[in-house]
């Protein structure tokens, strides 16, 4: 039994955005205000506390020998409690990145008007195991000069402004001076 155009014709009525914004169809708006306060637990709690101190901390697993960020109290691959705390560096290497013309609400950035695109990246942190990355932003670099493998350095907020959050690191910037195009 083929699914035909006639069969599906009346199954969904396509509206346009104006039908809704100009109230040609009735809608009921609701703005949810759900609020949470998540307990961080010992691993993330310490991670954030050390970020406030201007440092990045990791946990180790002696079995698989990984140095893990973000830190966790158990190794999810070996299925055993993790072993020790260890500090890692605040430098790293770009594993992959994006040049984004949209923000988190899908709003368009005014790139033509000079607004800088957003450049999030997965950064493998020096001192952690290979491939241990965190998501963060890159800045102070021409988006089109970013390369996979580029070395970067964290730029921290001043001590007084740090709150114990991932945003205590403002962003990562290239470790070496920005290379000129073509070099």
């Amino acid at each position: 039994m083929e699914i035909t155009k006639e069969m599906v014709e009346r199954t969904a009525t396509a509206l346009k955005l104006e039908d809704i914004t100009k109230r040609k169809v009735l809608t009921t708006p609701w703005q949810p205000k759900v609020q949470y306060a998540w307990d961080d637990g010992p691993a993330i709690g310490r991670y954030l506390a050390e970020l406030k101190n201007g440092r990045i901390i990791a946990r180790t697993c002696r079995k698989c020998r990984r140095i893990m960020i973000p830190p966790r109290m158990f190794c999810e691959l070996c299925w055993r409690p993790s072993d020790d705390w260890t500090f890692v560096k605040d430098t790293g290497v770009v594993n992959t990145f994006v040049i984004s013309h949209v923000d988190w609400k899908a709003g368009r950035l005014d790139i033509k008007g000079g607004e800088r695109p957003l450049t999030p990246a997965v950064i493998e942190i020096d001192g952690a195991s290979a491939g241990m990355g965190i998501l963060h932003m890159l800045d102070e670099v021409d988006p089109w000069q970013i390369k996979i493998g580029m070395k970067v350095q964290a730029v921290w907020k001043p001590q007084a402004e740090r709150q114990g959050a991932i945003t205590d690191i403002r962003y990562f910037k290239p470790l070496a001076p920005e290379r000129k195009r073509g070099k």
């Binding site: 009921t28 609020q35 949470y36 998540w38 307990d39 010992p42 158990f74 299925w79």
Partner: protein, 382 residues
């Protein structure tokens, strides 16, 4: 009835009003480690995992993303059931019976303390057009149901108050319970009204906790050291989700779920063939309404039975010896897990709380809470 499926391991963190020292990850990990140790297995032997969560309760969209790590399920068959724990358990049972896996893990968690405005979350579950704009407290939905239930069955508020007194007292003796306390019926009746006929004490407070269960096929269970607790029957059902089309006062979903479970278990007279039960009592009247829907008591008789002490731990049909939701804490979709936990421990003789003697068959019945009309029932035997 298909292949027999047993519970061969269970682990829990217990239930506490708040758990500020741990995140959801460590809570589940603790329950999982205990469950696997109990069963004598390692996660790499497990063929499939079923997690239980609802996005808005966890505070994550696509909350299933965060399920595998703390169960040892990385890159394994694991999926999430946004439903009650007993529904996840049913899914786990189906996985074993289909032959897909002979060891299945089922998980549930509550971090209720991390939700700052539960009312807003529950309101978000109401029909966006016909109910939400009325801006009533979600407790009103339960109050409407209670009002009708009392009217139709002749159950009294006093009898409901006795449920609160019993369950919260039971919880005092349960080391895993969060809200044990001594109350008298007059305290409950005199409490500030929330949405009449519900007063403050008629409504269970929330609790955090995690439960992880290991299921095994009959062949596999024979190789494990734990005496199995058999899932003889399981059922679940959804009644009218719309408040407008609902038949009030009757827990029809529980009756349908129980019928399915009893049929599977070959149970004809539940009251005689089952010795005790853990049933959802998130609102005081719910215990009575559920007992009648489960055909443990005739219509209008559950309240009377409570009055004369029949459902006390020493009574002829102990109900909510653990303390139930009122005593342990309301745990959203972990509700069935809290009920199941007690039934399993009683059947194993490990309950600690008043240990019921000589029990061979118990029942767990859950409800997903307002504004849903969904519940599940499991019948277990040792």
């Amino acid at each position: 009835m298909g292949k027999r499926v047993a519970i061969v391991g269970i682990g829990t963190t217990g239930f506490r009003a708040t758990t500020p020292d741990v995140s959801y990850r460590e809570l589940t990990y603790e329950a999982a480690v205990k469950a696997y140790l109990d069963a004598g297995i390692e996660p790499k032997e497990v063929g499939a995992f079923v997690a239980t969560s609802e996005d808005l309760i966890e505070g994550y969209s696509i909350s299933d993303e965060y399920s595998p790590d703390q169960l040892g399920a990385v890159l394994k068959p694991i999926h999430t059931v946004p439903g009650d724990f007993l529904q996840s358990l049913a899914n786990g049972m189906m996985l074993v019976q289909s032959g897909f896996a002979d060891l299945v893990v089922v998980q549930g968690l509550s971090k209720a303390s991390n939700i700052l405005n539960v009312g807003e979350v529950l309101t978000f579950a109401e029909d966006p057009v016909t109910v939400r704009p009325l801006c009533e407290t979600p407790h009103a939905v339960a109050a409407l149901d209670m009002c009708r239930f009392l009217h139709e069955t002749g159950t009294t508020r006093e009898q409901c108050a006795r449920v609160v007194v019993k369950n919260r007292r039971n919880a005092l003796r349960n080391q895993r319970a969060a809200h044990g306390t001594l109350l008298e019926a007059c305290d409950v009746l005199a409490a500030p009204p929330v949405a009449e006929p519900l007063g403050r004490y008629d409504i269970a407070q929330h609790a955090d906790g995690a439960v992880v269960v290991v299921l095994a096929s009959e062949e596999r269970a024979a190789h494990l050291r734990r005496a199995p607790v058999w899932i003889r029957g399981i059922g679940w059902a959804t009644d009218a989700p719309s408040l407008d089309s609902r038949v009030w006062g009757d827990a029809r979903y529980a009756r349908l779920a129980a019928d399915m479970a009893y049929r599977m278990a070959g149970i004809r007279t539940p009251r005689r063939e089952i010795q005790f039960a853990e049933v959802n009592d998130e609102y005081s009247y719910k215990e009575l309404q559920h007992l009648e829907a489960l055909r443990i008591y005739e219509r209008g008789q559950a309240g009377r039975a409570t009055e004369v002490g029949a459902t006390e731990p020493t009574g002829e049909f102990p109900v909510n010896v653990s303390g139930g939701s009122l005593g342990c804490g309301a745990t959203f979709d972990l509700d069935g897990g809290q009920k199941l936990l007690e039934v399993v421990l009683q059947l194993r003789g490990e309950a600690g709380t008043p240990q019921l003697r000589g029990v061979t068959t118990g029942l767990a019945a859950s409800w997903r809470g307002v504004p849903s009309a969904t519940g599940a029932v499991a019948v277990l035997s040792n």
